[in-house]
Structures are given as C-alpha cells and as structure tokens.
C-alpha cells in the first residue's frame, strides 16, 4: 500500500497564479485533512473532510478551496497565490472503527514557494 501520497513535492508559483495540490490515499479512510506548516508555528488545519462529498473549514481556510468527489482523493486548490501561502502543505487521513482509529497518517508534504 502506498498510504498517503502527495504531488508535487516542490513548486514555485508567481503571485496571482493558481495551482492544485494533489492528495490520494489507498487506506479507505473516511477522514482527510489539509494542514500547512510554517516554521515555529506547528500545523494549522486548512480544510478537512469526513467523507466523499463533505468538506468543512479548519482554522486557516482563506485563499484555499477543496473538493472530495471520491474517498481516495482530496485536492487542495490555491487561487490567486500570495506570498503568505509560502509553506509546507501536508495531507493526512484518519480511519475509524479499527485498531488504528484516531491516528493520523501523513503524506510526505508539498513545499510551496510564492514569489
């Protein structure tokens, strides 16, 4: 099993450009999350999803959008990129109803620079 995969690994955007960060999981987990990690700030939740067709905002949703059309995929869309969105982005999943319930599984991250 691949677990949680993210693409791309690195990306440089110009101010005002748009892009989609991809996240896919093969663990059949219902819950998926997008976090951003800034130095010294820990992880901040951007959006999360409790299942296909259901998404909700986290702490820092402004400037981002998500969709969840399938259990496996949870893309994060940046419209009109700004320097404040320079960060490392992590996708994560959580399963329910088994011995690994409540544990989060993280992807390797996408390092985004907006200049």
């Amino acid at each position: 099993n691949a677990g949680v995969t993210q693409t791309p690994k690195f990306r440089i955007l110009k101010i005002g450009q748009s892009m989609t960060l991809q996240c896919a999981q093969d663990m059949n987990h219902n819950y998926m999350y997008w976090y951003r990690q800034d130095p010294g700030m820990g992880l901040k939740l951007i959006y999360y999803s409790v299942g296909a067709g259901i998404t909700d905002k986290g702490e820092v949703p402004n400037g981002y959008n998500v969709s969840r059309s399938t259990t496996e995929d949870f893309p994060l869309r940046l419209e009109l990129a700004a320097p404040s969105q320079t960060s490392v982005y992590f996708c994560a999943t959580t399963g329910t109803g088994d011995s690994n319930s409540y544990e989060q599984y993280f992807g390797p991250g996408t390092r985004l620079t907006v200049t």
Partner: protein, 115 residues
Amino acid sequence: AQSVTQLDSQVPVFEEAPVELRCNYSSSVSVYLFWYVQYPNQGLQLLLKYLSGSTLVKGINGFEAEFNKSQTSFHLRKPSVHISDTAEYFCAVSESTSGTYKYIFGTGTRLKVLA
C-alpha cells in the same frame, strides 16, 4: 476551545542522556493525546497515543509518555537518547466526545542530540 502548549522550542541533550519533552493542553472535555515525530523533509509519524486506560503509554523507538489529568499534561520521555532521535516532536490533542476527529497541534519541540 482546545489548545496545546509545548513550552520548549528546542532541547539539546547529549547522547545516552535522558530527555523529557513537555506538553500541556487545555480542554473542557475528555481528550485523546498524541505525540508525533518529524524527521527532516518528511511527514509526521505517530510515536504514541493515549485514548483511555493506563496513563503510562509506551511508543516506538523507546519513547513513553504519561497522561496526567490533574495537571493537563502529556510529557514525552526517553531514558537514553540516540543521535538518530534528532528530530522535531509534536504533541496533539483531539476531543474524544465530539466525534469530529479534529486535531490541534502544538508548535513543536526540536530535539537535538549531541555526540
């Protein structure tokens, strides 16, 4: 509202010495508690978790943590560290009663093991 405090942003320690990384949380309801480790340029991986039962929790790589409800703490300990333990460590909390599976992370503690 929940919050997690990791007071030590950096902890230097000599190899084979013991270490304690501190985590305090704030919540008005019962919680699940987690410690994650992040090696350079990687995603987070679970070290250990407290869901219920024994307050002393053992995890991978020789780490353990103790849940102290009265002090709202969940400190991470290792009796003898190795160079390979150099990494960033994150404490996280999730409300056990909400059913929303949302997590709040601390700002992280960078453990530097010195030869």
